[in-house]
Amino acid sequence: MNAFSVTFRRDFAMMWSGGGALAPLGYFFGATMLVPLAMGPERDLLAAAGPPLVWIAAALAVLATLERLFQADLEDGSLDQMLLSRAPLEWIVLAKACALWCAIGLPLALAGAPAAIALQAPVERVPAIVASLALGMAAFIGVGLVGAAITAGVKRGGVLIALIVLPFFAPPIIFGSAVASGEDVGAALLILAGCALGGLALGPIAAAAALRLQAE
């Protein structure tokens, strides 16, 4: 058993238990529902502008889960144990990120299919939208790790993490929306993959640096 698999399984079990992905999924569907309520249900308008808005709902839903990512560990002392372990903290943070992606990111990406159809996306585009959401979730999580680590100790830090992290959500949203609108799907998916890989490579480094400061 190495540190990565232990952390992954622990975090996956924690996120999956007690309702697990239901709350973020509910948030996602609720936010999606608000779109036609705000834009009016006219089919053509929704078909033209609706599918990219799935990305806004997904970004907000994942932001809500990022907030608690490190707070629980900071409060109950698990963070100190992670610092004491022989495995590098960056590796453990990456394990948590992977657990978050598997437990919540992937279900959100799959839930993007009915949400996109509800927003009148053409059915041929839906597989590309789900793939782009899966990559986008990885990108969001990679960048969101840093915001979550920085605001871990702050009481009522929910708004603060949004303010810090949202500017960095912009590139995945821009390219994910391109996929949702059907323009340059191949190129946009490649760039999204780049954002995801970059975020997962660099995010844990900054997040671990911030976590070492939190634990003092």
Binding site: T151, V154, A206, L213, Q214
Partner: protein, 239 residues
């Protein structure tokens, strides 16, 4: 010199004469620059008198980028060498940079309305400048959100360094994307393309904004050091 000034005592001695000097310099440069730019400079051959907004907009824009770079360097120095005053400098500079970014966005909007026919466009340059403004706000909010000052300092330093990636995006956005915002006319390969009669007032205004930044940052750092001394004295009295 950075090392010499890392001692708060010596810094206070330096800023006691440097801050008023920069204040006088800023007042002088604004006194010369504002009339020169707004009244006595030539109108543009295409835009007419609307071009005068440029003398407010361009220095604010380039300085907001420069101030963020200053904060990035200060954050790096603070994290790596534990320089005592680097985080104080970054914290003092942030509101000034945020205000300059805000001035850039607002004056740009007023300039775009008559010349482009739109108050706002989501092109590369405007979007990345807005992102810079929001990053500034997040940095300032982070300092206030965390109670212990040294932890706040180092977390804010990490955040500032993560945000540095936006600087090249803002600078090169007009080259990478086909944007509504015009391409670079001053800092570009091949020399400047701006007319000589406009460089004078533009440089004066840029110097005025820079002197204003130096003044406000130095006074802000002095205020922060005085506040720390007061808090330390209160703690000693309570003990």
């Amino acid at each position: 010199m950075l090392n010499y000034l890392s001692n708060p005592q010596r810094f206070m001695g330096f800023s006691a004469w440097a801050a008023p000097l920069f204040a006088v310099l800023a007042t002088l440069l604004f006194a010369i620059g504002l009339p020169w730019a707004l009244v006595f400079s030539p109108p543009d051959y295409q835009m007419g008198d609307t071009v005068r907004i440029m003398y407010l907009h361009v220095p604010a824009a380039s300085l907001s980028l420069g101030i963020y770079a200053f904060m990035g360097i200060a954050s790096f120095v603070s994290l790596v060498w534990r320089h005592v005053l680097a985080d104080v400098a970054a914290r003092a500079a942030a509101p000034i940079g945020a205000t300059f970014a805000g001035i850039c966005l607002v004056t740009g909007s007023f300039w775009g309305a008559p010349t482009w026919g739109t108050w706002w466009e989501w092109d590369g340059r405007l979007t990345s400048m807005l992102v810079l403004f929001i990053i500034y706000l997040g940095y300032i909010a982070l300092w206030s959100a965390i109670e212990e000052e040294d932890r706040a300092a180092r977390l804010a330093a990490i955040l500032c360094l993560v945000g540095v990636i936006n600087l090249p995006i803002v600078k090169f956005s007009v080259d990478w994307w086909s944007t509504l915002h015009q391409p670079a006319s001053i800092m570009r390969s091949g020399g400047t393309s701006i007319d000589d009669s406009m460089i004078g007032p533009l440089a004066t205004m840029a110097g005025a904004y820079a002197a204003l930044f130096a003044t406000l940052t130095l006074y802000g750092m002095r205020a922060a050091i005085f506040r720390r001394r007061v808090e330390a004295a209160e703690l000693r009295n309570a003990a």
